[in-house]
Every structure is written in C-alpha cells, then in structure tokens.
Amino acid sequence: MLVVGELINTSRKHIREAVEAKDAAYIQRIAKEQVEAGADYLDINCGTRVFDEEETMAWLVNTVREVVQLPLCIDSPNPKALAVGLEFASSGQSMVNSISAEKERFESVLPLVQKYKTKVVALCMDDKGIPETAEDRLRVADKLISDLLAEGILQDDIYLDPLIKPLGVNNQYGVEVLDSVRSIHLKYPKIHFVCGLSNISFGLPERKLLNRAFMVMNIAVGMDAFILDPLDQSIMSMFGAARALAGQDEYCMEYITGVRAGRIKA
C-alpha cells in the first residue's frame, strides 16, 4: 500500500508562489512534513508552468532531493518534463505519473519508464477519451495492461488509475469505479491501483467526508495506492485503519506504530 503525497503541485497557490519566488525553504518544509506524516512517495507536478515546466521540474526535484530521501512521483503529461524530473530524481525507484492508452502518450512515455525502470501510473483512457461504461473501462484497461506487459513492464510496477468522475454529476460514478477495480483485480492480481480522491466529491458539500469514505470503499476492493494530502490526519488515520482491515498490514503493526507515533487517531 502506498501513499503518494500530493502537495508539491504548482496548481496550489502556496507552491505556485514559492516557485515564483524560488523559495526553496518552503518547498523543502512541505516535502519534509509529508515524509513525517507517512507518505511513501512525493508527487512533483508543475504542469501549470506551461512556459517553463522543464526548468521548474528540475528546480523542484533538486530542491526536494536536498532534504528528502523518499522516491519521487514525477507528474506531468509532458514527456520532456518527465524526462527532466526522472534524470534528477535519483534515489529509489521513481514513479511516472502518467502513461495512458492514448497512442502518442503511450509511445512517448514508455521509453522513459523503460530507461529509468520506474513504477508507472497508467490512466485508463485511450484516444476515444475516458471510458463511459464499465465494459468500456475494462476493454481499455485490458489493452493498456497487456501493452505494458508486452513491453517488459512488470505487473508489480503498474499502477492503474481508473479515473474518477464526480459523483455529483452522476450518482453511479462511484460504484462504477469500484466494480471495475474489483474485476480488473481478479484478472491481474499483481497489478496495483491508484487514484486521486478529490474528483469524486466535486460539486458536493463536505467533500473530505466523501473522499475518505470513497477511499475506504476502494481499499476494500483492491485499490492500494492513493494520491492524497498526507498532512490531513483524518484521511491518513482512515487509511491506516482500512489498510489493516483489508488484511494488508501484518500483525497490524503499521496501525499500532502509527497510533503510537500519533499519526493515526480516531
């Protein structure tokens, strides 16, 4: 089970300002806080810097590298920015966020995954867009996974992102994801699943409550990685509890240790 800390993202106001001011200390503080809160990977995303994304990526990765040993999740739809991030992200096995079954994206991102032997987030979409039905999602997932495996990527390095759409727009969008995760998990027991949680609650009140509940439901069907805010103690606590309940925490040691350390709290 993995927690990918999502906070270093230039779409967030404080990070944007820190990047503009080249405030390395702030970036490093946020990086360290996420590590202390229990993140396993740190996501680095500066996609909003459309005119200098590569340069910003290099600066962010190097800045974080100075204070944190955790592996990084290099997050961009732009292969050039991914390449720069991976080059500087030296420690541990990096993660690429993301590849998809879109032809151009698949072909341009795959060589990076192979070259740096990374884990890879695989978005469940192709050139026709985001699948509308459960059947469609299964078809795209199947193609994406078998194409990655054919290219020598290990099942254990694939993190399928089913792509979550807002429940407020269609009340079946939550259960559709759960159904697809369950059935893909049966077919490919060794591949992993990852998602960002906040899309599910778009347009609804008390969003964090829905995010948390949805995370727990996903853990129950086999989702085992989440891109989230590790400084949000309530979601991290729920993560620790659900992980133990799903049989993913030997002797419940992570749970107990987390409670003792004050990270997991009712």
Partner: protein, 210 residues
Amino acid sequence: MSDFKELSESVISGNFRVAKDLTQKMIDGGTDPGQIINEGLIAGMNVVAVRFKAGDMYVPEVMMSAKAMSIGIELVKPLIAASDIPSTGKIVIGTVSGDMHDIGKNLVVMMLESVGFSVVDLGVDVKPEAFVEAVKEHKPQIIGLSALLTTTMLNMKETLVALEAAGVREKVKVIVGGAPVTQAFCDQIGADGYAQDAAVASDLCKKLVG
C-alpha cells in the same frame, strides 16, 4: 403566490413534475409563452445560478433545476416561433484539440442554457479550424474554450491564433476555463475572459453580451 412565482419555485427546488404540470396549466390557461419562459422558468434558474455561485446549492441540485426548466421549455417551445424564444445570446463552446474531458464543459453548457443562452456545443477534441468554421456558420457573440490538461491548454492559444488568421477574432469574445486555467493564463494568451466555474461562466457571458 402568483403562478409565475410558483413555477419559479418548482424550478428552484428541482421539482420537475410540478414544473411540468404548472407549465401545462399556464399554457392551457392562455398565459403568454414568452412570459412563462422569462418570468417563470428562467427567473427560477436565475435564482439557482446565484445560490450555486454562493455555494448554497450543489451540482446535483442545479442539475435537477436545469431539468425542471428544460421540461417546461420543451412544452412551451412548439407554441412560439423559434425567433420569439427569448435568448440572452449565442455561444459556441468546446473542449480544445487533444483534450477529451467534458464534465466541466457540460456543466457550463447547462448553466448557460439555463440562463437563456443558445449554446452550440462542439463537443471534445475540437480543432482550431472547427472553431473558426463554427464562428462563420453560427455567428456567436462568444466562444468558450475548455481544457483540463496543462498540455492541451496551450491549444487555446492555437485556437486564438486560428481565429485571428481567419479574420474572425474581432467578431467574437473568447472565454476560457478548466482546472489548470487561470486569469493570468487567460491574459497571457489574449483571451477576453476567464471563469473558474460554471456559475461564474454564466455571469461572465451575461456581462460580455450585456
């Protein structure tokens, strides 16, 4: 409560069965169709838009209200000439080239239609040339460009360049939106307006045609 007020209330509460019955009753009673739309249905949606923008109403509620309104409009439509259907303005909208995301764009379409705009929705992955063609064909006052990806938002600029090259840029206001888009980006590429969500988008459009 006046009939119009009651009809507006049914739209606000998203009670489409009541909205349908009241609209039919008013039609049968000889109420002016234009008034049914303006003073009943759209008046209700205007309240919804304000509450949605203020965060007092949520997306599913707005969708129910929009459905109530459109059921009413469908009943009234056959009674009046297309040219007499009140229209706040005409908008061509689409998700830009290379981008398949449409949930946000669809919410904007819903809000715009709800406040009386006639909307031509070009769908997703809309090439710059297709926007140019649509401007020539539909002669809208506004074009709305949507993008969810940081890579595709640059195609908003491409679209502006294409409009310029075709000599139609001056004929329309161009507005932009989508998760990675900001006011600063809007200014940078020379678009005419930015809205962070569907409620603001409908206000922005009203202002631009007003």
